[in-house]
């Protein structure tokens, strides 16, 4: 069981999907809603739903507790999501909140409220359909491999202080024929820049804390991590 503490507010269709995925990956999470009438449905689906009046700050503070890594606000009503983010951020501004939006208008409001990431189901569906129309081959492959049932995954590898890769140039360590994976790009911790794709052609110097994003078989990535003390 993974140790991250995850809270999911709002027992909605999206919450059920996210919970199912997290459950399958072995995450521990708490589902919270203020509507007690949802309890039978949650029980039927095998989820443990906690009923909490999140509009009451004292109850919310108790409910959130300490050391929370992620909070999802997945209510169907944008106003509820905005209010909850503001309440959570008022309690602890450093909390990482992932919010869902249902209207174009609400995106900006959620950003102002302090959401770290905003999931827009309409944008995501629209863009996916666009890709299916314009690049059906690509979507077939990505859906079947990275998103799908095959063991091909996109994973991130953080460069550690003791790793032999530390202080090396990217072009020196990749490509490496001994390992079958693709290096997609790098996230530089120091520069705090956006993600740099490998196709940009920069020969970047690796430092501890930098994150490599790779695509490959999980066991192959694990082997690489082990061999390079990552």
């Amino acid at each position: 069981m993974k140790t991250e503490k995850i809270l999911i507010f709002g027992f909605t269709k999206s919450a059920i999907e996210i919970s199912s995925q997290l459950k399958a990956k072995g995450y521990n999470f708490t589902l919270i809603d203020n509507d007690a009438s949802l309890l039978p449905q949650a029980e039927k689906l095998g989820f443990n739903l906690k009923i909490l009046d999140y509009t009451d700050d004292i109850l919310l503070e108790e409910g959130i507790g300490e050391n929370v890594n992620f909070i999802f606000t997945l209510f169907d009503d944008d106003a509820k999501n905005v209010f909850l983010i503001l309440s959570v951020k008022a309690l602890d501004p450093s909390l990482h909140v992932i919010a869902i939006t249902h209207t174009k208008d609400a995106i900006h409001k959620l950003e102002i409220a302090g959401a770290s990431t905003i999931l827009d189901p309409y944008q995501i569906s629209g863009k996916k359909i666009y890709k299916l129309i314009t690049q059906p081959d690509v979507m077939n492959v990505i859906d079947a491999t990275v998103f799908g049932y095959h063991d091909l995954n996109m994973e991130q590898i953080t460069i550690t202080e003791n790793s032999p890769l530390n202080h090396h140039m990217i072009n020196d360590i990749y490509p490496n024929e001994a390992y079958n994976f693709l290096l997609v790009g790098i996230h530089d911790k120091e520069l705090k820049k956006e993600f740099i794709f490998i196709t940009e052609g920069f020969n970047h110097k690796l430092d501890a804390g930098d994150i490599l994003v790779v695509i490959g078989q999980t066991e192959e990535i694990l082997r690489y991590k082990k061999d390079f003390s990552l």
Partner: protein
């Protein structure tokens, strides 16, 4: 008599089975009547030019009776065209042989006696029905005066101008509006007639012996119409006090009647305008060779349509909400106000012919499934991509015939959990799939003439070209030690090594910036040396 009937029956069957006859009639119908046919458009244009020129020449002839031989020839030639057109319209108006056979078979099947005269009467009545229709009368009057013994009917040659009603759609709309508002216009005409009659009678009574300009009832009627129309030439003016009062009343009534007339026509125009726009839109769609149909212009529809439109794809949107269609039109896309679940509308739009892909993105599963079903029933080949509102309905979409059914909740679930797991890789993948940073995944199909056939991956020098090969999709399955995945009936080779040889019909899945990928595609398409 029996001999004649049997001869006619044989002839009718011969016509019924004649492909040549059917094709010629079909061609004439497309040429003369098909509302969205290109052929009809060009024919109408030709006829408009012919009508305008022939009328101009006829007007020229009024003062210059000795026409230039060329003009004379032109007038005669246009007459031949008008006569041919008239006869063709008469021909295609009804299928006489079908009427004949229907009657004959009915009599045969019901053991009733077949009456040749009654049948001929029905056939001729049908043709007469056409002859006495307003547009056919105009056509005939535009032709008849050209016949020498009927020269006295020369004024009717101006009816050629009315022929334009046939060829210009907006003119047709005007006549439709007039005929649709028959009742209102008739009531108004009766009222106007009553006012004119009263006004002219009154002025006639009061002024005949006093006013030298009003001598007959015709003068009185002429004066009252001119006054009512607020024209006021001033050639006839009332000279008595009574006459002046009548003038004032007539002017007030005249203005009121004109206002009524205008409001009737304007209101009718407004209701007709939408219909007119729809038919114009259908004609626009008819001109598109290939397009993508988006059913539903909600938030998902908006995103898909915008991205496809920006990419240069022809997109047609259907929605039942007039406001959304207005919005789509303002954004430069073709929008149709209508119900996408109606087979008739999808058929009209050419689903399966010119519309090769249908995207069902309304906010209701019932509607999306129904549209999917309708589109599939129209074409087996068409690609249908549907948005699943509630993920547990996904199976129903596949049963209805969708090629892809996409659940936003499922995707959100997947992305949400991935975000927790690997936020950086999630962002990278999201960037590539949504093309926000310009780096994207794209496929490169190796066609027959590609110069990459039988070359190794290493020779492509992808790294130097700032590209990354994700893998290769191959149709034929062969034993290999490489890392492969089965995708449908194809094989996906993940990250193949440098010595991997490219075959014809392989699809390379490449990552990189669009212009780098395009350069590779361009290079690949160069004709391979023999």
């Amino acid at each position: 008599m029996d001999f004649i009937v049997s001869l006619l029956v044989r002839f009718a069957y011969f016509v019924e089975h004649s492909k040549k006859y059917r094709r010629s009639k079909e061609f004439c119908r497309t040429l003369l009547e098909h509302p969205t046919s290109k052929l009809k458009f060009y024919f109408d244009l030709f006829m408009v030019i012919l009508v305008v020129l022939s009328v101009l020449f006829l007007l020229y002839e009024v003062k210059n009776p000795d026409l230039h031989p060329f003009m004379d020839f032109f007038i005669n030639a246009s007459l031949v065209v008008f006569i041919t057109e008239y006869l063709l319209r008469l021909w295609i108006y009804s299928d006489s042989h079908k009427l004949f056979l229907e009657r004959y078979e009915y009599a045969l099947n019901n053991h009733a006696s077949f009456s040749l005269f009654k049948t001929l009467h029905t056939i001729i009545s049908k043709k007469i029905e056409y002859i006495i229709s307003p547009l056919a009368i105009i056509d005939l009057l535009a032709i008849l005066p050209s016949y020498r013994p009927l020269r006295f009917l020369r004024i009717f040659l101006l009816f050629r101008i009315f022929k334009l009603f046939r060829y210009a759609r907006s003119m047709k709309t005007f006549t439709t509006i007039i005929s649709e508002k028959k009742f209102e216009l008739f009531t108004l005409a009766i009222f106007a007639g009553f006012v004119i009659f009263t006004g002219s009678s009154a002025i006639y009574i009061f002024e005949t012996n006093v006013n030298p300009k009003i001598n007959t009832l015709f003068d009185a009627i002429y004066w009252s119409i001119v006054t009512m129309g607020t024209v006021g030439y001033g050639d006839i003016v009332p000279v008595t006090k009574e006459g002046m009062v009548i003038s004032m009343i007539l002017i007030i009534f005249g203005v009121a009647i004109l206002a009524f007339l205008t409001s009737i026509i304007v209101s009718s125009f407004q209701t007709k305008l939408q219909e007119l726009k729809s038919s114009r839109t259908l004609a626009d769609i008819e001109r598109l060779k290939s397009y993508i149909l988006v059913c539903g212009y909600g938030r998902v529809g908006e995103v898909v349509a915008k991205m496809l439109h920006d990419d240069g794809y022809a997109v047609v949107i259907i929605d039942i909400d007039a406001e959304k269609i207005k919005l789509a039109n303002q954004r430069g896309m073709i929008g149709i106000l209508g119900d996408a679940s109606k087979s008739k509308l999808l058929g009209q739009l050419g689903v399966g012919k010119r519309a090769s892909k249908v995207i069902c993105v309304t906010n209701s599963d019932e509607m999306n499934v129904f549209i999917t079903m309708t589109a599939r029933s129209l074409s087996k080949e068409i690609d249908i991509i549907a948005r699943v509102v509630k993920s547990y309905h996904k199976k129903k979409y596949m049963l209805a015939g969708a090629n892809f059914a996409l659940s936003a909740d499922e995707t959100i679930g997947l992305m949400g959990s991935q975000y927790i797991d690997q936020p950086i890789s999630y962002a990278a993948l999201d960037d590539m799939l949504t093309e926000t940073t310009g780096v994207l995944f794209e496929s490169l199909k190796i066609y027959e003439k590609s110069i990459y056939i039988n070359k190794t991956i290493a020779t492509l020098e992808l790294r130097e070209k700032r590209l990354l090969l994700f893998g290769v999709v191959r149709e034929e399955v062969e034993p290999t030690a490489l890392l492969t995945y089965a995708i449908d009936d194809k094989i996906f080779y993940f990250n193949p090594p440098g010595d991997f040889v490219i075959h014809k019909d392989d699809t390379l899945i490449i990552m990189g910036k669009r212009h780098h990928i395009n350069l590779l595609k361009k290079h690949s398409d160069k004709r391979a040396p023999k």
